[in-house]
Symmetry: C2
Subunit: 140 residues, 2 copies
DNA sequence: TTGAATGCAAATCGTTTGCATCTCA
DNA sequence: TGAGATGCAAACGATTTGCATTCAA
C-alpha cells in the first residue's frame, strides 16, 4: 500500500486538491503533532499555490480526522493538535519548548486492555490518550 | 491534615472568600471533572450568596490550578475540565454522554516510570495524562 | 487600611458557519 | 456538468483582560 498524499486521498475517496496534498505533505515531513495555525503558516511559507485559506485548513483537518487519516492528540495546549494516524504510539511533551518524543510500549497496551474489561460502567472502549509531560534535556 | 475548603485555602495562603469556598465545596461533592460553565451554573443554583460571576469562576479555577489545588484534565471536550488534586488516578470517558469513571493502576505507573528513564530527549518527566475513551453501557 | 478579589464590559482567540464561487472527476 | 472544495466575512463559544469597586485580613 502506497502512502503518498495522492494515494491516501484516493483510498479515502477524497478529491485530490492542492491544499489537501500539501497538508498531507506537511504532516508526513514534520512527524510531530501540529495544530491548524501551524499547518496554515507552513502552507503559506511552503510552495503551495496561493497559500491556502485558514478556514480551509480547519476544514481539511476535520475531514482528515473523520476519515481517520489524522488522529487528534491531547497535548494540554490551547489548540487542537493532530498527527498522521500511523502505528499506535504515545508522546513525551516538553512543557517549556515544543519538543515531542514518541514512544510505544506493548506492556501498557496490554494493561489498558485488561483495565477496559474490568470497568463497571463501560463496555466499549475504543481509544485512549497517554502523554507524558516534563522538561527536555535542553529546557531542564 | 484537614481538607475542608477553609483549610485548603488557609494552607495555600488564599483569602477565604465565599466563591472560593463554594467552588471547593462543589468539587469535593461532585467527584468528577468539571468545567468553568458547569461550576458556574452549580454556583448559581447553589446557596452561594449572589451566585458569583462567571469571570470570577475562571479566575478561581486558574488560581486553584496554579496552587495545585486543582488539576487540569484533558477530556477531549471543547472546554477545560478540572478536578481536585487528590490521589493520582485516570479516567474512562464516554464520548457520547458525560459519564466519567475513575481508575487507578499501579502497574501502569511502574511501566511509565521505566519509560521515563529510557527517554533520550527527556530527563525530567513530571506528570502524565492517561484517559480512555469509549461508550458506556447506557450509550453503547 | 490596603492589597487582593470581584464584577462588568469589552477584547481575544480558536474554531465554525453561511453563502457565493470555483474546481476536480 | 455537478457535487464537493474553497474563500471571505461574520458568527460563536470559551477564556482573558482592563478598570473601577468591594472585601478579607
Amino acid at each position: 500500500m502506497r502512502n503518498e498524499p495522492e494515494d491516501i486521498l484516493e483510498r479515502n475517496n477524497l478529491k485530490k486538491t492542492a491544499t489537501r496534498i500539501a497538508v498531507l505533505d506537511i504532516f508526513s515531513k514534520t512527524k510531530i503533532p501540529l495544530d491548524a495555525k501551524t499547518v496554515w503558516s507552513k502552507l503559506k511559507k511552503g510552495k503551495c499555490a496561493k497559500g491556502a485559506n485558514e478556514v480551509t485548513v480547519y476544514r481539511t483537518l476535520s475531514v482528515f480526522e473523520e476519515e481517520r487519516i489524522l488522529k487528534r492528540v491531547d497535548l494540554r495546549k490551547d489548540s487542537v493538535y493532530f498527527e498522521l494516524k500511523t502505528e499506535h504510539h504515545h508522546h513525551i511533551v516538553c512543557t517549556k519548548c515544543d519538543t515531542v518524543e514518541d514512544f510505544e510500549n506493548l506492556e501498557i497496551e496490554k494493561v489498558l486492555a485488561r483495565i477496559a474489561t474490568k470497568s463497571s460502567k463501560f463496555i466499549n472502549i475504543k481509544d485512549h490518550s497517554l502523554e507524558l509531560f516534563g522538561l527536555c534535556k535542553t529546557c531542564n
